[in-house]
Symmetry: D2
Subunit: 351 residues, 4 copies
C-alpha cells in the first residue's frame, strides 16, 4: 500500500474501544495508525508488549512495534481518535484540540457541551457547523467532535427516517445491552451468569439527553428536539450487540408497512458521499418473527447498520419494533471513524 494515507493517533489505545479503532483502521483507505497513546503503565513499551489483545486472532502487524506514548505526549498526527476513559478524557482532548488536532472522541465528557458537535453522519451532519463556533469560542486551532453513547446511537439511527417522514412525539425504549459496552474487565461474571442487571449507571439519562441533541436542528446553536423519551436500561449476558424494544408515538399514523418502507428507503449523506465505512443501508429490516438477534445480526453491514424487526402496532403508543446494533462498531469505534471520514469529505481535515 503506497502510503500517503493520513497518519492518525489512537488515544486510549490499549482499552476495548482503542483496540476496535485499531482493528477497524487496519487497511483503511484514508487513515493509517501512526501514534498510540495510553496511560503511564503502558507508555514507553511496544504496543505488542503493553497490550493484551482481546478482539480475536492477533493484533495487526502494523501496530505491534509502535511505542506507546503517555497522556502528556505532543503528537505529530493531525487527527486523533479517542477512546480515553472519561476521568482523563476532558483534559487531554482539550489540550490536543487547543494545539490544533482534530479530536474525534467516543468519550462522554464533551458530548453535551453547547459548541461541540455530537454527530451521526446519517442524522445531523449539519451540526458540524458548530466547529467554527467552537474554535472561535475557545481560541482553538483544532477541535473536538463526538459520537454518542452506544445505546442511543442505534436508536437515533432508526428514529431519523421516522422523524423525517412522520414526525416524532414520544419514544419508549427498553434496552438489553451487551457487556462489551462496559469495557474490560467491566461487568463481573458473577453478575452475568444466570442473571440480568436492570440498571446501567447514567445510561438512561444519556439516552434521553443525547437523542434530543442529535435529533434537534442547528441554527447557530443546537436545538433540543421536541419529543419525549423514556429509557429502561438493562445489562444482559451478551458479548456484543445491544437489543432495544421501542414503542413510539409518531406525528402521523403510518401503517407498519409504511414504516418499513421508510426504513428500507433511508439513505443519507454518508451513502451519497460513499464514505468508506458507511453501510450501504443504514437501517436493515428483517422480516422473520424472531429477529434481529445479537448472534445472527450484529455483523450486518460489517457492524455499521442498525437492524430492525417486528415492526407492528403498539396498543399504547401506536407503533413498536425491535432494533439491534453492534455496540462497539457502529456504537463506538466505527462511529468515530465514520465521523472522521465525514470531516475529511467536508474539508475539515487539512492535514
Amino acid at each position: 500500500m503506497s502510503d500517503n494515507r493520513i497518519p492518525v493517533a489512537v488515544l486510549g489505545a490499549t482499552g476495548n474501544v482503542g483496540q476496535r479503532f485499531i482493528q477497524l483502521l487496519e487497511n483503511h483507505p484514508w487513515f493509517r495508525v501512526a501514534e498510540l497513546v495510553a496511560s503511564e503503565r503502558s507508555a514507553g513499551k511496544k504496543f505488542s508488549e503493553a497490550t493484551v489483545w482481546r478482539l480475536g486472532n492477533d493484533m495487526p502487524e502494523s501496530v505491534r512495534d509502535l511505542v506507546v506514548q503517555d497522556y502528556s505526549a505532543d503528537l505529530q498526527s493531525a487527527l486523533a481518535f479517542s477512546g480515553l476513559p472519561s476521568e482523563v478524557a476532558g483534559e487531554i482532548e482539550t489540550r490536543l484540540a487547543a494545539n490544533g488536532l482534530a479530536v474525534v472522541s467516543n468519550t462522554a465528557t464533551h458530548r453535551i457541551e453547547p459548541d461541540v458537535p455530537l454527530i451521526i453522519p446519517e442524522v445531523n451532519p449539519e451540526h458540524l457547523a458548530a466547529i467554527k463556533t467552537q474554535q472561535e469560542n475557545r481560541g482553538w486551532k483544532g477541535f473536538i467532535t463526538t459520537n454518542s453513547n452506544c445505546s442511543v446511537m442505534h436508536l437515533v439511527l432508526t428514529l431519523k427516517p421516522l422523524q423525517d417522514a412522520f414526525g416524532l412525539n414520544k419514544v419508549m425504549v427498553t434496552t438489553l445491552q451487551a457487556v462489551s459496552g462496559a469495557g474490560y474487565p467491566g461487568v463481573p461474571s458473577l453478575d452475568m451468569i444466570d442473571n440480568v442487571v436492570p440498571y446501567i449507571g447514567s445510561e438512561e439519562e444519556k439516552m434521553e439527553t443525547e437523542a434530543m441533541k442529535m435529533l434537534g436542528g442547528y441554527d447557530g446553536g443546537f436545538q433540543t428536539a421536541d419529543f419525549v423519551l423514556s429509557a429502561h436500561c438493562n445489562r444482559v449476558p451478551v458479548r456484543d450487540g445491544h437489543t432495544e424494544c421501542v414503542s413510539l408515538e409518531l406525528g402521523a399514523q403510518p401503517s407498519p408497512a409504511e414504516v418499513i418502507e421508510a426504513f428500507e428507503a433511508f439513505r443519507a449523506l454518508p451513502q451519497e458521499l460513499e464514505l468508506p465505512s458507511a453501510p450501504k443501508r443504514p437501517v436493515v429490516v428483517r422480516y422473520e418473527d424472531n429477529r434481529p438477534q445479537p448472534q445472527l445480526d450484529r455483523d450486518t453491514e460489517r457492524g455499521m447498520a442498525s437492524v430492525v424487526g417486528r415492526v407492528r402496532p403498539c396498543p399504547v403508543l401506536g407503533l413498536k419494533y425491535v432494533l439491534l446494533g453492534h455496540n462497539t462498531i457502529r456504537g463506538a469505534a466505527g462511529a468515530g471513524i465514520l465521523n472522521a471520514e465525514l470531516l475529511k469529505a467536508k474539508g475539515y481535515l487539512n492535514a
Copy 2:
C-alpha cells in the same frame, strides 16, 4: 405426619411444571400427592423410573414408587393439579371436571373461556363465582380453574394495588424471560449463548388478554378491564426469574413514594386467610439502584412474591419500575397451589 391430608393428582407429572407441583406439595399441610398422570411413554412405570428429576437434589421419597397413570385413567382424587401440555390439556381436563374433579390448571387452554375463572387470589378471588355458572352451563359435577401465564402473573400482581389506589390507563411492559418458562428441552442452547431472542410465540397476546380478564370485575360474567397494555417479550439466558420493565399511565398522578407506599401496604385475601403458600408480602420493594435481579431476588418469599425496584418517574407515561418474579413458582406451580388453597378455604373442595 398423621395423614388426613387431601389426596391430589398431578397431571403432566414428569414435565417441568409437574415436577414443581410435586416439589412444592412435599410437606404441604393440606394436600398430599397421591396420583400421578403422564403420557403413555411413562404410564405403568414407577415415577422414579419414568422421570428425569431436574430440580436439584433428589425427587421426594413419597412419590418415587407411585405408579404413573396414563391420560385416560379414572382418578380417585377429588383435586387435580394440571401441568399438561396444551395439545392434550383441553380434552383431559374437561373429562375430569365433568366427572367431578376440581381441576386447577396451569395450562393456557381454558384460561379465556367465559365461564372459567382465571385467578390470582390477591387480585380477583371474586371470579370464583363463575364456577357455579360453569357447572350449570356444562352440566359438570367438578370444575376447572386456571392460573395465568407466568409473565402476566407478576405484572398483574404489581398492577393490582396501583389500579386500586390510582386507577390504571396505560401499561407498557418489556419482559426479559427465563428459559424455564419454555419447559424441557425447551429453548436450544445455541439460542441462549451470547444471544437473546426478541420473540416468544403468543406471549405478547396472552399478556394483553389475560391481564384484561384478571383486572376486570365480575357481575355474573367477566368484565374486561378498561386500560390498554402493550408487551414486548424477550427470552434471555436466565434459568428462573422473569424481569419486566414497566411504564404506566395511572388515573391519578402519584409520586414514586406514594407508589412505593401502595406496594408496601398491599395485603389481600390470601394474607388475611393465612393460606399456607401465601407470601407475607405479595409485592416486595427493593431500594437498591440495581435490583431486583433474578439471581438475588427470585426466591424472595419462597418464590411467591413479585419483587419491584427502581420506582421512578417516566417521561412518557408518568411512572416506571422494574419487577422480578419466579416464573415456575409464583408464575406456575405455586400459583396453582395457592389457587387450590383458596378453593379449599372458600369451601369449593368438599373432598
Copy 3:
C-alpha cells in the same frame, strides 16, 4: 466467476453441518454447490424457504433458489458432501456411492468400516488407498470417504507431529466441548446456563477408536495404532470451539521446547499441495499463559488449524498441553472439504 467448477451436492443441507458446508463452499475455487438434499419436510421447496439459516448474516445468494431434493433423489453431481443425520446416512450414502458418486461424509456411520478411509489430509493421506479395495469389495462405481468426530480431529492433528518425532505411548484427554457439535436444537439451554454436563453419548468411545484408526498405518488394510488413549468428554456453555486438556507419555522424552518446535515445524501434504482450504500452519502455538481460548482462537487460520498452548511437563505422563479447535469448521464441514480437495488433487474425482 466463469464457472467450470465441479458441481457438488450437499446432503443434509438444512442442518448445522450442511449449512457450514454451504457457507464454506461459497466462492470455493474448485467446487460449486449445485444440488441440495434434505428430508421430506424440506423437499420440493426452495432452500431459502425450507431453511432457517443459523450462521449469521444471510444465506449465500447462490443457493437461495435451489430446490431441495429428497433423500431418494438421483443426483447429477459426481461429488456429495454429507452432513446427514446418522439414522439415515448409512443407506443413502451407500446408494449414492454404489451409483458412482464420491461421497465425502461427516457422519459416524461408515467411519470404522474396514475398507472406508477415515482421513485427515495432514495425518493419513495414504489411507486413500483403501478406496480401491472398497470399490472392489462392494462392486461400487463411486466410494465413501469420511472425516472424524470433531473432538478427535483436533487431538489427532496435534498428536501426529509428536508421534512422528517422538513416538506415542499413552494419551489422556479431557474435553470441554462446544454445543454446536450437537446440532440444532441440540443441547437444551437448561443444561447450559450455570452448568456443565460431564457426559456426551458415545463420544469417549469414538475418540478412542477413531484416533487409533487414523494414527495407524495402512498395508492393504488399516492397522490400529499401538498406543492407549483415555477420554473424559464434557459439554460446556460455549457455541463453537472445543478445548482439550492433553497429557501424554511419548516414546522419547522431549523438553517442552522440543515439542513446541515439532508443532511449529509441522507441515504436511495439504500444505505441500497448497490445497485451497489447507491452513498454512496446521498446528498454531500460542505462548500466553491463558491461551488458547474459544473466543479468541477458534477462527485461527479460518478455523482450519488446531491451536495449542501451555506446553509443559506433566508429573504423571511426562508432557501436557491445551488445544483448541473449531468444531464445525476443521472439526466437521471444513474437514470434509479439505478431504475432497485431496481427492481431487490425487485424481480420485474424475467428474
Copy 4:
C-alpha cells in the same frame, strides 16, 4: 436462642468468603458471629451499610447492625474465621494468633508452613497435633489452622477412601471451575460468555502441593504423600460448583464396583463425632450417566459433600471418575466451620 454460643469474629467479612461464613454461621448451634473485620474502607460502618450482600435474599438480621472493625482491631472473640485477601492475611492472622486467638483460615498464605495444619476433618485430623509444635515454635498463645484450596478439597475428599483401601500411585485431574472461586468482581464477564479460560494462576501448583500435605501422615512433622499428581485447571461459565475429571493409578486394581463401594462406605471422624456441619455422607455417588452436574448436585448434603459419578475403567491409568463439589461451601467457608467444630470437639477451643 438462649445464647451461650461461642462468640466469633469473621475477618474479611465483606468479601465473598466472608459472606459465606456469615451465612453458614447463622443459626449455628455452637458459634455466633460477634465481630466483623474488613478493610479501612468499610471500618466504622454498620455491616449493612458497608456491604453489598451477594448471596441471595437479605443478609442475616443478626449482623446488620454490627460495626465493622478495621484490620488493626483488638478482638474480643477467642475464635476467628478468616476470609482475608492473601495480601494482608499473613500479617493479620499472625498477630491475632500470637495474641491468643484460634484463627481458622481459608487463605493460602500459611497453608504450606511446616507447623501449620492444613486440615480436612475426614482426611487428616491427626495433623492437629502440629498446633502444639506451632505454639512452641512461635511462642504463641493462639494458633492458626487452615483449610485447603477449593479445587483440591473435593479431590482429596474422594481420594482418601481410595488411598486407604487400595493405595494411591498416580492422579491426573482436569478441573472445570466455577467463577465464585475468584471472588467479586473476580472473573470478567467478557472472559466467561461463550468462552472458557484454560488457566488459573497458581491453581495447578496449589493442587499438587496441598494434596501431598493432606494425604501424607504426621509423625511430629508433616510427611509428603508418595504419589504423583498432575492438574489441568480451567475456568468455566458456572457460578458455583467445581467439576473435576479424575484418572487414577491405584496400588491395587479394584473394579469400579469396589471403588463405588469404598466411596459409599466412607465415614470418618466428623460423622462419628456428629459435628454440626458434617455431611452424613462425605462422598455421595450418583449412578446416572450424566451426573454429577453443578446445577443439580452442588447443594447435596447442604454443599458439604463431594459428589462422584461415572466411575469406570481408564485405559491409561486404570480408573476414572467425575467429581463435583460446592467450591464456596465445602470448598471454602463450610470447610473452615467444620474445622472449627473439630477444634472444639477435640478441646482446642477453651473459650
